[in-house]
Assembly symmetry: C2
Homo-oligomer: 337 residues x 2
C-alpha cells in the first residue's frame, strides 16, 4: 500500500465534472441529487480513495460528528463492549465515538456533564447506568436539544432513545432455570439498590419463586454491591444463616465469581453441592473455573443500535422510534449445568 495523496472535495468535483456542492450533497446524503450523478461522484471518490476532511466539516457545519458515552462504571469489560458497539456504528457513518467517565458531585452527574459540554461539542449522547437514571442530566441534555439514548434506563423516556432488555423477565427466566434443575433452597445476591436494573432482576427472581412450589422461607436475599468482594461475603453469611441453600442467583457475574471462590475455599463442590448462576455473561463468566452459567445481554448490539438510531435522529432531526427491547439468552456453563 502506498501513501496516497490526500484529495479534497474540489478534486472529486473536477474529476466528476460537477460542482463541489454536489459532491458535498452526495456525501451528506442530501436529497435532490440525481441518482446518476450520485453514483458518478461515489465512483470517482472510491477510485481516488477520497475521505471528507472532518475538521473542515466540523468547522463549516458547526456539527462535531462526535457521539459521547457518559458513564460511571468501573466495569471496564462492560464499557469496552459499549465502546465497540458505538465505534462500529460511528465508523460506518463517519462519526467519532468518545467515552467519558463522569464523577458524581453530591450524587448528581449534572455538574460533571456541564463541565464537559463547556469544553467539547457533541452531536449526540449515550447514557448508561447509573448516569442514565440521573434526571438532572437528562434535563440538561434535552434543554440543549441534543439527541440522546439511554442504555438500560430505570425509567424509560418517551422523547429519547431507550435500549434495554426486560430485566424482570430475564431475572425470572434464569431463576426458573435454577428451579427446573431441582433446587429447593435458593438465595439471591443483590446488586446496588440504586441500580434500577438490579431491582428488576430481583423482582423477576421473586416472581419465579412465587410461581413455583418453593416456600418463601426457603429463600434468602443477601445484599451485595456488584463487587467480587461482596460475593465472598454473601457466601460467608449464607453458611451461617442458611447452609442448606443449593442454588444461588447473583445479580452479576463478579459476585458469582466471589461466591464460587468462597465456596471452593470452604470445601463446597461447585456445581455438585452448590449451583451458581450469574448475570451479564461478562469475561469473568467464561474465564472462571468452573465457568459460570449466566444470562447474556447483547450489550455490544445494544450500543450499536442506539448509536445508529442516534445518528439517524441527528440527520433527520426527529426521533422516530423510541423503544428498543433486546432478547436475552441463558449461557449454560459448568457452575449450573
Amino acid at each position: 500500500m502506498t501513501i496516497s495523496k490526500k484529495y479534497t472535495i474540489e478534486d472529486i468535483a473536477e474529476h466528476a465534472g460537477v460542482s463541489i456542492k454536489t459532491v458535498s450533497r452526495v456525501f451528506n446524503n442530501s436529497p435532490n441529487v440525481r441518482q446518476q450523478k450520485r453514483d458518478l461522484v461515489l465512483g470517482v471518490a472510491r477510485d481516488l480513495g477520497y475521505r471528507p476532511n472532518i475538521s473542515a466539516r466540523q468547522l463549516a457545519s458547526k456539527r462535531s460528528f462526535v457521539i459521547s458515552h457518559f458513564h460511571d462504571n468501573p466495569n471496564t469489560d462492560y464499557l469496552s463492549e459499549i465502546y465497540d458497539g458505538m465505534r462500529r456504528a460511528c465508523s460506518e457513518q463517519g462519526y467519532y465515538a468518545v467515552a467519558e467517565k463522569l464523577e458524581p458531585k453530591k450524587g448528581s452527574y449534572r455538574h460533571a456533564l456541564l463541565e464537559y459540554l463547556l469544553r467539547y461539542e457533541v452531536d449526540g449522547v449515550i447514557l448508561s447506568p447509573p448516569v442514565s437514571d440521573d434526571n438532572s442530566v437528562i434535563r440538561e441534555i434535552k434543554k440543549r436539544g441534543i439527541p440522546y439514548a439511554l442504555i438500560s434506563p430505570g425509567k424509560k423516556k418517551k422523547d429519547g432513545i431507550n435500549v434495554f432488555i426486560n430485566e424482570r423477565d430475564a431475572g425470572r427466566s434464569i431463576t426458573d432455570f435454577l428451579i427446573e434443575r431441582g433446587h429447593k433452597q435458593l438465595a439471591f445476591i443483590s446488586g446496588l439498590d440504586s441500580h434500577a436494573a438490579s431491582l428488576e432482576r430481583e423482582a423477576g427472581f421473586w416472581e419465579a419463586i412465587a410461581a413455583s412450589d418453593i416456600p418463601k422461607k426457603n429463600v434468602l436475599r443477601l445484599a451485595g454491591d456488584f463487587s467480587m468482594q461482596s460475593g465472598f461475603r454473601a457466601f460467608e453469611k449464607l453458611t451461617k444463616k442458611a447452609p442448606n441453600v443449593t442454588g444461588i442467583f447473583a445479580a452479576n457475574d463478579e459476585m458469582a465469581v466471589g461466591t464460587i471462590v468462597a465456596a471452593l475455599r470452604a470445601g463446597k463442590k461447585v456445581p455438585e453441592e452448590l449451583s451458581v448462576v450469574g448475570f451479564d455473561d461478562s469475561p469473568f463468566a467464561r474465564s472462571m473455573w468452573p465457568t459460570i452459567t449466566s444470562l447474556a445481554q447483547p450489550i455490544d448490539d445494544m450500543a450499536h443500535l442506539s448509536t445508529q438510531k442516534l445518528i439517524d435522529w441527528i440527520h433527520s432531526d426527529r426521533l422516530k422510534e423510541s423503544q428498543f427491547e433486546f432478547a436475552t439468552q441463558i449461557i449454560v456453563r459448568d457452575s449450573c449445568p
Copy 2:
C-alpha cells in the same frame, strides 16, 4: 452555571487590543511575544472563558491534535489505565486521546495500522505490547515522521520514546520476596513467550534462584499464556509433577487468580500451604480472596509521561530524551504476606 457564549479568537483580540495573530501566538506558545502581552491575552481569555476551536485549528494547521494508542490486548483494566494516563496529559494540552485495537494479519499489525492511518490523521502514537514489538509497524510510523512512544517494548528504540520498568529486576525482586519467606520449592508460571516482558520477568526469576541456595531441581517452570485458565491448568500440572511446591510466581495477576482458585478447589490453603505472587497489581489482585501479593508498575504514570513527552516532541519537533525507566513496588497482600 449558565450556557456561556462561545468566544472566538477575534473577540479575545479585540478585548485585549491586539491582533488575532498575537492571540494565536499566545495559545500556541510561540516565541516572540512580549511577556506583558502574553499575560494580558491570557487574562482576557480566562475572564471570557475562551477556548480555541479545535476544528479550525486542525484545518488551518493541518495538525490533528490526536494521539492514538494502538494495542491488541484483551485486558481492559490495563487499557483503561493507559487511557486515563493519556487523557490526563492530553487534556492539559488541548489534545485528544484515542485508543484503537489493531487486529493482526498474519502476525503483523502493519496492515491494520495503514488502514487506520488512511482514515485518520494522528500527531503522535503510543504503542503497547504486543504492537510495540512489531517492527513493521514502527517502520511505517517512522517513515511518516510521526512521533511515537513505546510502552514496555521488548527492544528499546533510540529514536523514539521508551517508557518501561526493568522487568528483569522486578522479576528478581518479587522472587527474592518469595525466597525470603522461606520457600524452598518454587514454580514460575510464564506468560506468552512472544511477550518480551514475560521472558524478562522469567530471566529475573532465574537470576534470583541462582543467587539463592535453592537447587535448580527444586524449581519448576510451567507454561502459561496470561489467561486465568492457564493458571488453573498450571496448578493441575503442578500437583502431578511437583506437589511439594510452596511458592509460585505467576507472570501476571490473572494467572495468579487461576492458580489460587484451583488450589482452593483442591483443598490447599492459601497462603498457609501455598503462597502465590502475581505481577501488574491489576484489579484482580485487589478483588480476589485472598487478595494477591503483586508487583505494581505505574501504568497510569507511564502513559501520562509518554503522552507528555510525545506532545513535547510534536511541538519542538525534536526528540530530547528517549529512555524513561519507572520504579516498581511490591504490594504485599494475603496470598503471600
